[in-house]
Structures are given as structure tokens and as C-alpha cells.
């Protein structure tokens, strides 16, 4: 099985990619950081029972982030989030926010992290065909949102 040092190795290997994916998913640096830290802390605690720590951490981090997104935020947080982000990323993240959670997650995992559809399907607990459908719809929707302003 796995031990804490193995979890740290996984963190060094995938931590940044996971954080970027969660930043794109939540649009919020703090939520992304919280989900990453929480997922890895849980992984350390459950290390001896985890067979594939990388997959485990991705799954838990997305679950934590989704739960956080559904929790009402204090007033004024929206403005803070945009202020904290680099200019180039703001449009992208604002457009992504207009997608349903699952469509957004699929799009990010496929395009930001280059994961295969079968892996995304397993991670998100859906049929690979559904991943393809979400991807198709997300792409169309983002094209509508961004129009020709981008590029």
C-alpha cells in the first residue's frame, strides 16, 4: 500500500496540475488551495488503505471543491476573486463558471490536464460516452460565450 512519504511524492508530482484544474473549476484561489490541502491531508490519514493515491486525491479534491462551491459565500467574495487572478485567466474562468459543474470539470480535465476520457469518466463516476457528450456541449457553449472576442 502507500505511506505518507509516497503521498508527499504524489503531491510534488501532481499538486500543481491539480491546483490549476481546481482553480479553473472553482474560479477561486482559496477554494482551490483548500481542496488540494484537504484532499492530501485526508490521503496522508488514509495512506495505508489507498492503492492509487494520485487518482484518489484527484477524486477527493474535486468532491471537496464541488461541496465548497455549493456553500454560500460571504458577500463581496466575487470581486476579491477577480482581483486576485492574472488578467489573462479572468475571462477564461468567468466563461467556465457559466457551464454546469460536470461539463466544466470534464472540459478542464480534458483540455487543461490532457486526461483521457476513460480516466475522466472513472474519476467523475460517469460513462465515458457521457464525458464525450459533456465535452461536446461545453465546447459549443464556450464558443457561444466567447464568440470571436478571444483568440
Amino acid at each position: 500500500m502507500t505511506d505518507a512519504s509516497e503521498i508527499e511524492r504524489v503531491y510534488r508530482e501532481v499538486g500543481d496540475r491539480l491546483w490549476w484544474a481546481l482553480l479553473a473549476y472553482t474560479g477561486d484561489r482559496e477554494l482551490a488551495s483548500d481542496a488540494v490541502a484537504e484532499a492530501f491531508a485526508r490521503a496522508v490519514g488514509a495512506a495505508d488503505t489507498i492503492r492509487d493515491p494520485a487518482a484518489w486525491v484527484w477524486r477527493v479534491a474535486f468532491r471537496v471543491a464541488t461541496a465548497s462551491l455549493r456553500t454560500p459565500k460571504p458577500t463581496g467574495r466575487e470581486a476579491e476573486e477577480s482581483y486576485e487572478l492574472e488578467e489573462g485567466a479572468i475571462d477564461v474562468i468567468q466563461a467556465l463558471k457559466r457551464l454546469p459543474d460536470r461539463q466544466r470539470a470534464v472540459f478542464i480535465l480534458f483540455y487543461l490536464d490532457d486526461q483521457p476520457t476513460a480516466w475522466i469518466a472513472e474519476l467523475l463516476g460517469m460513462a465515458p460516452a457521457t464525458v464525450s457528450v459533456h465535452l461536446h456541449r461545453a465546447r459549443r457553449r464556450l464558443r457561444e460565450i466567447l464568440g470571436d472576442d478571444d483568440g
Binding site: 505518507a4 488551495s33 476520457t117 469518466a121 460513462a127 460516452a129 464556450l142 478571444d150
Partner: protein, 288 residues
């Protein structure tokens, strides 16, 4: 919209923080006896902040809802069926297993084809947009962009062609196995087959339908089917001869009776929230 990969990569301009010390802090402050499953979440006995409290409430409500649904579905007729036995190998069972694999492969290829068709469509849209933007007298930079977009279209078209060829290559194999199977029907040894067929709507392979037996012996009131939706986040639809006969919430099991079916084949299928252009291959089941 530019290439989605290039476009979304702007997020990577953000510098990720080093969170390992935060991980250690959380680990050190948590009591022993940590969770062992991502499905459970949270720490046992850990003081919960508003965010974690909300998470735990959500998870608890989800588990409760799941139990209620599962119990509700199980309590319906004929909910007290024992797990269905896998029939002893017979020539028909052998062909059935090969056919199940072939149908799964065909479905994977169909899914891939759909994805690539969608990629090609996106690349073509992109090319059209760039050409329109450039107008009648494109600059050198615009010419290069048009060329790159055209190359993306060509590459996607080649991939789609290969995916179509794969589908066409697999289809005859499925047809051959169906014919082989038809030659073994009606089964001379119908009594060796179970009275309940289990249909697994599953992601092993690539999201498919799996029948535990090629033949089910009907009782007086109909053929019994136990449908298991193995997807944790996916609603499944149980389809018989093209008609949805039951809808299953994620991760639930339903026991369904198909009454009044004459002895013979029905076509079985699990499907999901998909657009109509997804034509999943169905699986034959002989009701005896």
C-alpha cells in the same frame, strides 16, 4: 474561441502555492483514526468549520437518500430474488460471452467516433472564423493561422476516418456472433438457465450493458430482470426493444418483471443522459 487547449492554458499563468506545509498542519491537527474512504469524507471527531459542516451534511443526506432509494427499489416485486447464478458453460454461453465483448468493443469505437466528429466540427468552425476574420487579403500572420487551422482540420479528419474504419471493422464480427448465436436457439437445454437475469449498467470496458446469461426462464407472471446501475453519478435507463421500461438513479438496483413476453429474443440496453445520435448497440436476451 482559439484552440481550447491553448485558451485554457492561460490558467497556468497563475502560480500555484506550495501547500505541503498546510497539508502537514491539517494532518497533525487531526485526531487518529482517519477516514479510509473518499466517499465518507471529513475527519471523525474533527471540529467542523462552516464549509466542512456543509460538506458533511451534504454527504450524510446523500447517503441517506441513496439508502432510501435503494430500499425502495429493492422492496418492489420481485425484490427478494437471490443473486442470479451464472449458468454453467454451454455453447450458447460461450457465444454469449464473445458477443458481450464484441458489443463492448463496438461501443467504445462508436464513442470514440462521436468524440472525434465533435473535434472535427470544432476545428472546422475555428478555420471558418479565422478565414472570415482575415478577409480577402490576409496578412502573413493570418495566413500562418489559417494554415495551422487547416492542418488541425486535416488531422482531425484523418482521425475520424480511422475511427469510422474501426467501427466498420467491428460490425461484421458482431453480426457473425449474432448469427452463430441464432443457430443455437431456441436452447435445447433451457432448464440449465436461471430465472433471473442480471443486467449490469457499467463502466468496466467503456460504459456498457452486461447480461449475466444469454437465456432467462420466465415465470408465470413474466421474465425477471435485476438491473444494477454501477455508476455513482449517472442515471441509467433500462431499455427493452427500444422502449425505456425503468429509470435508475445512480448506484441503485431495480428488480423488473417483463410480463407477457412470448418465448424468443428481446433486445436489452442500458442507456444514459445522452443525445439521440448516440446509438448504442443492444444486447440480445432469449426469454424461454
Amino acid at each position: 474561441m482559439a484552440d481550447p487547449r491553448e485558451w485554457i492554458s492561460r490558467v497556468k499563468a497563475e502560480t500555484p502555492p506550495d501547500l505541503w506545509s498546510e497539508v502537514q498542519e491539517r494532518t497533525d491537527s487531526a485526531p487518529s483514526g482517519r477516514v479510509t474512504s473518499p466517499a465518507l469524507g471529513g475527519w471523525p471527531g474533527r471540529p467542523a468549520g462552516p464549509r466542512h459542516a456543509a460538506l458533511m451534511t451534504g454527504v450524510a443526506a446523500g447517503i441517506l437518500a441513496l439508502m432510501l432509494v435503494a430500499v425502495g427499489l429493492r422492496s418492489g416485486p420481485p425484490g427478494d430474488e437471490p443473486p442470479t447464478p451464472t449458468p454453467e458453460p454451454t455453447p450458447l454461453v460461450g457465444v454469449h460471452r464473445q458477443l458481450e465483448r464484441a458489443l463492448s468493443d463496438l461501443w467504445i469505437a462508436e464513442t470514440n467516433r462521436f468524440l472525434l466528429r465533435s473535434e472535427l466540427e470544432a476545428a472546422q468552425d475555428e478555420l471558418t472564423r479565422i478565414v472570415e476574420d482575415a478577409g480577402a487579403t490576409p496578412t502573413d500572420a493570418e495566413r500562418r493561422r489559417i494554415e495551422a487551422a487547416q492542418q488541425a482540420v486535416d488531422a482531425n479528419a484523418r482521425s475520424l476516418h480511422a475511427a469510422r474504419a474501426e467501427v466498420e471493422h467491428l460490425r461484421p464480427g458482431v453480426e457473425q456472433l449474432r448469427e452463430l448465436r441464432a443457430g443455437l436457439l431456441p436452447p435445447p437445454d433451457a432448464q440449465v438457465y436461471p430465472e433471473v437475469v442480471t443486467v449490469r449498467c457499467t463502466g468496466d470496458g467503456e460504459g456498457g450493458t452486461h447480461l449475466s446469461t444469454p437465456v432467462v426462464r420466465a415465470r408465470a407472471d413474466g421474465a425477471r430482470v435485476r438491473v444494477v446501475n454501477l455508476f455513482p453519478n449517472e442515471r441509467a435507463y433500462f431499455v427493452v426493444d427500444g422502449v425505456v421500461v425503468h429509470e435508475l438513479p445512480p448506484a441503485t438496483t431495480a428488480d423488473v418483471v417483463l410480463p407477457g413476453r412470448p418465448s424468443g429474443d428481446v433486445e436489452i440496453l442500458c442507456t444514459y443522459d445522452e443525445p439521440p445520435e448516440f446509438s448504442r448497440p443492444s444486447h440480445p436476451l432469449w426469454i424461454s
